[in-house]
Structure formats: C-alpha cells, structure tokens
Symmetry: C2
C-alpha cells in the first residue's frame, strides 16, 4: 500500500504485469478473465491503491451502472425505509445508486429527472408525486430511460408498476372495523396529493355499500405533505364540531391518523376499543411510527421488503435484457391487518 502511487489503469496494468485491455475487462467483470490472471490483478490491487476513474468509465460506456431512485418525500420515514431496502438490493446487484427526494414539490421532481438524465442512468425507480406530477414530462423521461414506477401509479407510465393493493387493504380493515364495532367514517384530504388516497376512498365506499353500511367521507382542506399537521388541525375541528356520525374513524393514511390522534388526545377523546373509549381510530400504511402513537395505531401494513424486491428485480430484468416492456405489468401486494389498541 505504500508503493508509488498509481495514477491510471495503464500504470496499474504495468504494475500488475497484465495488459491494460485485460485489466479493463477485469474491472467490468472479474469473472470474465482467467482465474490465474484474476489472482495476479487482485494481488496487485492489494499492493497498490488503485480504483478506476468512474468518470472515464461512464464516459465511454454506453450504459452506466447507475440506477436512480426518486421518492416523493424523503422526510417521511415510510419512503426512507423503502428507499433503504431498494438501495441495498441494487448495490448487491453490482449497480450504483442515486437517491433523490422530490420534497413534495413537482418542480423538484422535474429537477430530479433532469439530473438523472444527465447521469445517463441504466434505469430509474420512480415513486412519483402523483396528482402534482407532470404526466407529459414524466412520460418523456420514461421514454428515454427504462423506468419502473412504485408506490404511486400513474397510468401507462414506465415499464411496470409495483405497489400495494389499496382495494384489498381497505376492504380488510373496513370489514374488521365493521365486525368489531360501529362502521368507520373515512377521514381524508379533499385533494390528496397521492392517488393511492383516491383508490382507498373508492374502496371504502364500495366495501361499505357491499356490507350494507352507510358511508361518510370527511374530506378536509389542506395542501402539501404535512399530513400530521392537517390531521391534527382538521381532526380538532371535526371532533369539536361533532361531525362524526359514528365513533370509528378510518384515516386515509397513518400520518393523517397520527395527527388525528393528537387532536383526539387534546380534546379529551379517549381512543381505543375499551368501554371507556369515545373513539376508535385506524390508519393505513403501517408507518414506522404507528407503533408508537398513543394508543398504538391499528392499521394495514404493507411489505416494504416485497415491494422493494419486486421493483428492483423488475427494473434489473429490463436493464439486463436491454428490451422495453411490450405490455405494462402491474403488481399489487396485499396488505396485512395490524391490530393494535387504537381500534
């Protein structure tokens, strides 16, 4: 390691006693050279501190080994966790990762895609903002770069979509709530940024009708991604104005529910299944913090790991085949009821 500094592959090749093209071949795929030469190269690697210049590599390769990951809002631990799982899988497959957050801002989302374009990535895993996304711009990007959408679907964009089954999940928790108490009202944003919310709303209406219960949609104002704040402020209003027609509230997602729980607490409404409780509250997503609300939140979990695995696997297969999708596949994973004490 204290030998004279190696400045480039030429010098390293000389130092290892192998020709540069063969060394280059080795770095592209160590398995592609003969066992004996691989050992000589690796011996030299231990002796000299050399690594190929990424910029020179990527300049000459038609396809880089970079994969972009774009999430709508990284400050949400839900997305941070999915991103972490995806990153690990991609790196394990010998690719590099660039993680970008759109911070809930459509302009930032476009900037992210622009940045990725200039990186010439092999592929991109994109969880779009949803309603706020610019479909034409996203489509243009997907046409240029193999892109797999996850978490949030925009119809017909990307090679494939991997997400959760909002209908099944909503049905399951609605059935549970109806079976064990009063039928739930549905607490949501009037104009949610994420299309999953619309699917959940529709699923709620359908399953309630199927079960023969009345529906009540409580659609509150508020824009952006500060869901806890919206759930808190509007929850307080809804409770104090006695707008709830039953004692059971199904929130469109856990972050709204977290805020709603705070509102319930502050207005003195005890939440839970017990006799002494005034409200039952349930959420949707199994947010990392849902275990630590007061009371812990009953919700529907989604398997981060499965979504991450399927997304990565799908993208890598497109990358490796070099082909584009003939038909756009959609994969939805079922949710699992997480029974805790809030409902």
């Amino acid at each position: 390691m204290n030998d004279p500094k190696i400045r480039n592959m030429e010098e390293f090749a000389t130092a290892s006693g192998i020709s540069r093209p063969t060394v280059s071949k080795y770095f592209n795929d160590p398995q592609s050279v003969r066992e004996s030469t691989r050992q000589r190269i690796e011996a030299a690697l231990e002796q000299y501190d050399y690594r190929p210049n990424i910029y020179a590599i990527n300049q000459n390769r038609r396809l880089t080994k970079n994969i972009g990951i774009v999430v709508p809002y990284l400050a949400d631990p839900f997305f941070a966790e999915i991103a972490r799982n995806i990153e690990n899988l991609i790196i394990a497959s010998g690719f590099r990762t660039i993680l970008l957050s759109s911070h809930g801002d459509p302009k930032q989302e476009m900037d992210n895609l622009d940045l990725l374009r200039s990186i010439k990535p092999a592929g991109v895993l994109l969880a779009p903002l949803g309603r706020a996304s610019d479909p034409a711009a996203v489509k243009a990007f997907c046409d240029d770069v193999p892109t797999v959408l996850f978490d949030c679907n925009i119809s017909d964009l990307g090679e494939a979509f991997i997400g959760h089954n909002n209908v099944q999940a909503t049905e399951q928790i609605c059935e549970y709530l109806c079976r064990t108490g009063e039928p739930p009202v549905f607490f949501e944003m009037r104009t949610p940024p994420n299309p999953n919310a619309y699917r959940r709303r529709n699923a709620y209406c359908e399953v309630m009708e199927k079960l023969g219960y009345p529906t009540q949609l409580i659609q509150v104002d508020g824009e952006g991604w500060n869901f806890e704040e919206i759930g808190y402020v509007e929850g307080k209003r809804v409770i104090s104005q006695r707008l709830l027609t039953t004692n059971t509230v199904l929130c469109s997602n856990d972050r709204l529910a977290i805020g709603f729980l705070t509102a319930a607490y502050e207005t003195g409404q005890r939440v839970g299944r017990g006799e002494d409780c005034a409200l039952r509250v349930a959420g949707h997503d199994n947010h990392p913090y849902s275990r630590f609300t007061c009371p812990p939140l009953t919700t529907i979990s989604h398997d981060y790991v499965l979504i991450a695995e399927k997304s990565v696997e799908t993208l890598l297969s497109f990358i490796e085949s070099g082909e584009r999708a003939q038909s756009r596949e959609t994969t939805l994973f079922d949710g699992k009821l997480m029974m805790r004490s809030s409902a």
Copy 2:
C-alpha cells in the same frame, strides 16, 4: 427543440456560431463570457436540447462540482430535514449533491466514504455515526477531502464542526423543569451511539448539582438506532418497576421520549403538567414528530436552518479558497425551549 440532435459540445458550438472553447467557458461560468455571446449561446440552448456530458467534464476538471452529504440515519426525519436544507443551499450555490445515509452501520459509513472518494468530490458534509465510527478511517478521508463535520463531533476531525450547544440546551430545560416542578431524572441509553448524548448527560449532572438537586441517571440497555423501541420497552420496565425517584423525566432525545410516552400511555400514567398527571416527560431535539405526540412533547429545539447554513457556508469557503483549516473551528448553536404540554 425539434432541430437535429446535438451530440456534443463541438456540434453545439457550431450550431450556436461560437467556438467550442468559449462555449466551454460559458458552461463553467456563464458570467465569464461577453454579454452578446452569452445571449447567442442561450438562444441556441433554447433551440437545441444540449447539455454537457457530466462525466467528460468531471474527468478533466481537477475539482468536481460534487459535494457529498453523509448522515448517520436517514430514516430519522430529523436528519432528513437537515439534509434537505443542506441540499437546497448547496444546489443554490451551483454545486451538485450526493446524499448518503450510513443507516446506523459503521461499515456502511465506510462504504459511503469510499464511494465519495471515487466521486472525487469538491467537499463533504459529514454527520458521523459517532461512537461506532472508525476514527482512523474517517481521519484518512478528511485528510484527502475537505470535510466539514456537523451534528456529531469527533474531536479534531474535519476542517470544522457545526452543531448544537448541548450544554446550554440541557441547562435551559433542566432549569425550566426544576423551576416548575420536581427535578428531572435523566433517561438515556447506557451506551448511546451518538456522542451528543454523553454531553447531555454530563450537562445534566452539572446543572443539577449547580442547582442543588439530586441527580438520577436511568441508563437503559439497547443498541442501534431504534430509539423509539428502546424508549418504549425500557420505559415500560422503568415505570412498572417504579425506578423513577421523581415524577419528571428528561429524555436524552425526542425519539427516546416518543417511545417513553407510549410506555407511559400503556401503563396508564397520565403525562403532563396538570394536577391529574402522574408524570412530566421532556425531550431534546424538537424532532419533527414531537409536536404530534400525546401529549405534545416539551423539548429543546435546534435550528436546522442555521446549522445547515453555517455548515454549507463553512465548507464552501474552504472549497473556494482551496485552503485547508489551520485551526479547527467549532460552532455551536443554542437551543430554544419548546414548551408544550408534556412537561
């Protein structure tokens, strides 16, 4: 935009009627060329869809325009928020950003630094893991790359450190708690991953002594970064075993406090300042979720924006001067008491 595709700067220069070296100069700094030529280039930019190849640029520049950001645990919204602020400031300064999380894992931290090395960044903003970090390896990195540490200090590493004033913050909340009720016990991990915790512990002991109150350290087991879980599990144990010598608990950080609040809720201990409350609980950090706990958490806030600004400003000044620090400056920002209803 529908003109023939431009493949490189040569073609773009021809198309815009300007020589390539001048175009190159423009892309390095648009202000460095004459007004009239800038307009001609920008007119061409509107007409043709061209952007310089990043890899070719970075290969030839001695210094890239990349700045690395490394945080210990991105799934913690606290770090996600700081990172977001830092990113915006850096991008506004014309640099690029690479955001990496160590996921609480020392090996990952080293991998991140290795990755950054290969990117040849102009500089790095590093919030190290702390206790688990490999000081020698981090030092070696800091010797190679201008690095500014933030949030978590490792003595003598990096060009500078920007963080919060744990002593002032702890003193302030201790004084508040003592003034308004029983003196606090200090709830923390026995072996916290982050050195800020040690400073808070020491500050707690000192200020309590100064105020003439007894100290009680409740040091719980648990490793890693699942602070809520640790606060919850150990909080339950501490409460049920009646280990608290006063009714007031100061948690070493908000995430522990979030778990502790859940423990208090589940064990039926009402938390707050009222007559009917059994416990007061306070935290430290003003975590994004601390407003939405039940009850909302009294804590000490740190100004993300200030820390982000100072960190970026410091790093950029080193990058622009091209010099390294003669003496390592430490900047600490004071915390502000966030009085909520938990204490």
